[in-house]
């Protein structure tokens, strides 16, 4: 790519002593939910979804950093916040001398040339009514970097050659609908590199493609990175490609980074129980390897009402006192138990406990009131039975007190603590085990 742009664009500090391209500090992206418009105006009422909740890391020059997590983990929002496509509600994204979130849209625009995005669905990322020449050359027009069509064509041809869409003449006048999935993603990459960026945020760039072409697009991205000195943020839910493609990996869960470190370390010695579970859950096309049967239960919780303490504790097989046990953890435990009982036993136990919905409020103390015609003794006996049936269940470690009191059973849990990212060996991990 021509480097004449560099003269005009405020670039980050030149490489050397400081090899961080971007410094992200305590970044937050919170969305207000529901509530009236007046309430939103005055910051009252309504729930808040913490899509990104206090993320801190350095993005090193020329590295591939993987943001790995399941849907709802905040990985896409974080990627977009790095580019200024989403306005953070707190924290810093330092790029050179500048803090991107504090810049106005107008002052942010020159930086956009250096910070580009590749989207998941190449069909949706290309305007169906623009031919490839217009689509790939569009950024040049937006940023007023070419004077005429001839100049634009020169630049487009160069970019298409770089991404391997050759012979170029065959593609210039084609429309996205004429191209295969892999070819479209190449065109999207050409558009992303045409302004000579420093950073590409690639959000699931290969997950919509067929198995047989995924490797080809990854290979192309590695070539582009080498030839153009790029830095990548690779957003994915697919640990296998992250393992192959990334220098460092950050595992995300419910808006937080729970583990970050060199790819090799994370895959050979995963520390966070969530990372461990993810690694074991991947179905491998190996007839000898079967998906294990003791994977974490449940699913990613509601981001508008995250669990107390560590967000992963309700699903964590290794959770203990400090992890933040609470009222809401009791219900799945009882429901899981009832799955295995026959109808009569279930009816009897269900009738023993009064209102189950009282368990849906987050708190460290709960009163289990007995159902009609039952006493607190019956409830206590039921809880004890459940405990004896599964003494290994981590929840029991979190129970501080369990006794009949004033016609109900009081359950107190240990106060939990929210784990912070801390160094553990070669990685950083947010887990009380370390």
């Amino acid at each position: 790519m021509p480097t004449k742009l560099d003269a005009q664009v405020p670039s980050s500090a030149p490489g050397g002593a400081d090899d961080a391209l971007m410094k992200v500090r305590d970044l937050q992206v919170h969305y207000a939910l529901r509530g009236s418009s007046m309430g939103r105006l005055f910051g009252a009422g309504g729930d808040v979804v913490k899509a990104v909740d206090g993320v801190t890391f350095d993005l090193r020059r020329r590295e591939v950093l993987g943001l790995v997590g399941e849907s709802g983990s905040g990985k896409t929002t974080l990627g977009r916040a790095l580019l200024g496509l989403v306005r953070p509600t707190g924290g810093e994204v330092r790029y050179g001398e500048h803090d991107l979130p504090s810049l106005s849209e107008r002052r942010l625009r020159p930086f956009r040339r250096k910070l580009q995005m590749v989207f998941q669905d190449p069909s949706a990322a290309l305007n169906p009514s623009m031919d490839i020449e217009a689509a790939v050359g569009h950024p040049l027009q937006i940023h007023k970097l070419v004077a005429n069509r001839t100049e634009r064509r020169e630049r487009v041809v160069e970019a298409l050659e770089r991404v391997g869409l050759a012979p170029v003449e065959r593609f210039l006048s084609k429309y996205p609908s004429d191209l295969s999935g892999g070819q479209k993603q190449r065109a999207v990459l050409a558009r992303a590199i045409i302004l000579g960026p420093e950073l590409l945020v690639a959000d699931e760039p290969i997950s919509m493609l067929d198995m047989s072409v995924r490797a080809k697009i990854l290979e192309l991205m590695l070539d582009l990175k080498r030839d153009l000195d790029l830095t990548y943020v690779y957003i994915t839910h697919d640990l296998a490609t992250a393992k192959f493609f990334c220098d460092r990996v950050a595992i995300m869960y419910l808006g937080r980074i729970v583990e970050i470190g060199p790819t090799e370390e994370i895959f050979s010695d995963p520390k966070h129980p969530y990372t461990k579970a993810l690694l074991r859950a991947i179905p491998e096309p190996d007839p000898g390897a079967l998906v294990p049967r003791d994977l974490p239960r449940g699913e990613i919780p509601d981001a508008a009402a995250p669990p107390l303490g560590c967000s992963f504790h309700p699903r964590c097989p290794a959770a203990f006192e400090k992890c933040g046990w609470e009222t809401r953890d009791l219900r799945p435990l009882l429901e899981q138990r009832w799955l295995g009982l026959d109808e009569d036993a279930y009816d009897a136990e269900r009738a023993t406990i009064g209102n189950l919905d009282s368990l849906d409020v987050p708190a460290h103390q709960v009163r289990l009131s007995p159902g009609r015609g039952r006493g607190p003794g019956d409830v206590e006996a039921l809880v004890q039975r459940a405990r004896e049936a599964d003494p290994q269940e981590p929840l029991w470690k979190g129970v501080k007190r369990l006794e009949a009191q004033d016609g109900a059973v009081a359950v107190d849990f240990h106060e939990g603590e929210d784990p912070r990212l801390r160094p553990a060996g070669a990685v950083e991990v947010a887990c009380h085990l370390y």
């Binding site: 399941e70 295969s180 198995m211 179905p283 190996d286 974490p296 699913e299 279930y346």
Partner: protein, 351 residues
């Protein structure tokens, strides 16, 4: 319902027997041959994984088996289900089979559940529609029992679809298909919309299906890892043809067809140390290449491959492979086994 898989003798009559099935769509350019001469059997309690890349015809095949093809599609051949040829059956007869005998599990569970109906209503309506003689109490009992087997607690029986997470909705959809105890189910990419950990839970349920129900299952997926875990047999589809099928473990350990082998090699797994891909793109199904449909991309192509359609060969272990590398040798003309001179495949032709 709870017959263990061991109780199903391996020589049991196939519940579904497909012979030379062809499905094509009419277009201005000519017919698109989406399924082109597919034959296989499926026995009670057996799970067959159908794998292939997008556009290979796997979804068309799955829908064709249930008579769910869109208007404009034509089918020919034989789909023998419990003695009846579904392709010649009257529309009304197929409609009557769908549900109690033929089930389907879709990719996006949220779009298949009515947001205004409780889960209990979905189940009770389904049971009443197909088994009018069923009593209210019996319907409730059977619904809760099936949901329980899928891990949905009875306390949630009267909840609405939006109160469940994505993984639970998919379990509900599976239970909704199973509550009628169909003999044959098609599951089209049932885990594609789900997260890794939830996907693993659903795969486990599908794998257990074989043991807990004697339903035959056709599991359509592009994820080879799922097949390895959940299926007894696997069938690999390319350009409307089954190129290889057999015992899942055996096919994955020792793929015989070059397409199966290359597809396995290009799958990026935790064991991947180098990138590998298949050059070129699947053929245009209006004008597919002559001979073996894979020969233009095949690293092992021989002269015969571009001239004659391959013949499916049965191996000693019961696998079938349609590739000239595996014979039959006496059907190959003189000089046919010479290596084919192939043109370089450029990016211009890639998938």
């Amino acid at each position: 319902m709870t017959a263990a898989r061991a109780d199903v003798p391996s020589y049991a009559e196939p519940v579904l027997s497909v012979a030379d099935l062809r499905v094509w769509y009419g277009t201005e350019r000519g017919p698109v041959r989406a399924v082109d001469g597919v034959s296989f059997d499926l026995r009670p309690g057996e799970t067959l994984g159908l794998v292939g890349e997008s556009g290979c015809g796997k979804s068309t095949l799955g829908r064709g088996l249930l008579g769910l093809l869109p208007a404009g599609a034509k089918a020919d051949g034989e789909i023998r289900f419990k003695g009846t040829n579904l392709l010649q059956a009257k529309r009304r007869d197929i409609d009557r089979l769908r549900g109690p005998e033929l089930g389907m599990i879709f990719q996006e569970p949220l779009t298949r559940l009515n947001p205004l109906m409780r889960i209990s209503e979905h189940f009770e309506e389904t049971l009443r529609a197909h088994e009018p003689q069923i009593g209210k109490e019996e319907a409730r009992r059977r619904s809760i029992d099936t949901l329980r087997k899928m891990g949905i607690p009875p306390t949630r029986y009267r909840a609405y679809p939006h109160e469940f997470s994505g993984g639970m909705r998919q379990r509900i959809m599976i239970a909704l298909a199973l509550v009628l105890r169909p003999a044959f189910i098609v599951a089209d990419e049932p885990t594609t919309a789900l997260d890794v950990l939830v996907e693993a839970q659903i795969i486990r349920i599908l794998a257990d299906l074989r043991r807990n129900f004697d339903t035959a299952l056709l599991l359509i997926t592009h994820n080879l890892g799922i097949v390895a875990e959940a299926c007894d047999r696997v069938a690999v589809m390319y350009a409307g043809h089954l190129v290889e099928d057999g015992d899942a473990r055996e096919v994955f350990a020792k793929p015989r067809h070059p397409y199966t082998r290359e597809l396995l090699r290009s799958t990026i797994s935790l064991q991947t140390t180098g990138l590998h891909y298949i050059p070129g793109a699947p053929p245009d199904l209006v004008e597919p290449p002559p001979g073996c449909k894979f020969h233009p991309r095949c690293p092992d192509a021989m002269v015969v491959c571009g001239a004659q359609d391959p013949v499916a060969v049965q191996t000693a272990s019961g696998s079938r492979v349609a590739c000239w590398l595996h014979g039959p040798a006496d059907r190959i003309d003189e000089g046919g086994t010479a290596r084919m001179a192939q043109e370089e495949i450029s990016v211009a032709d890639e998938a």
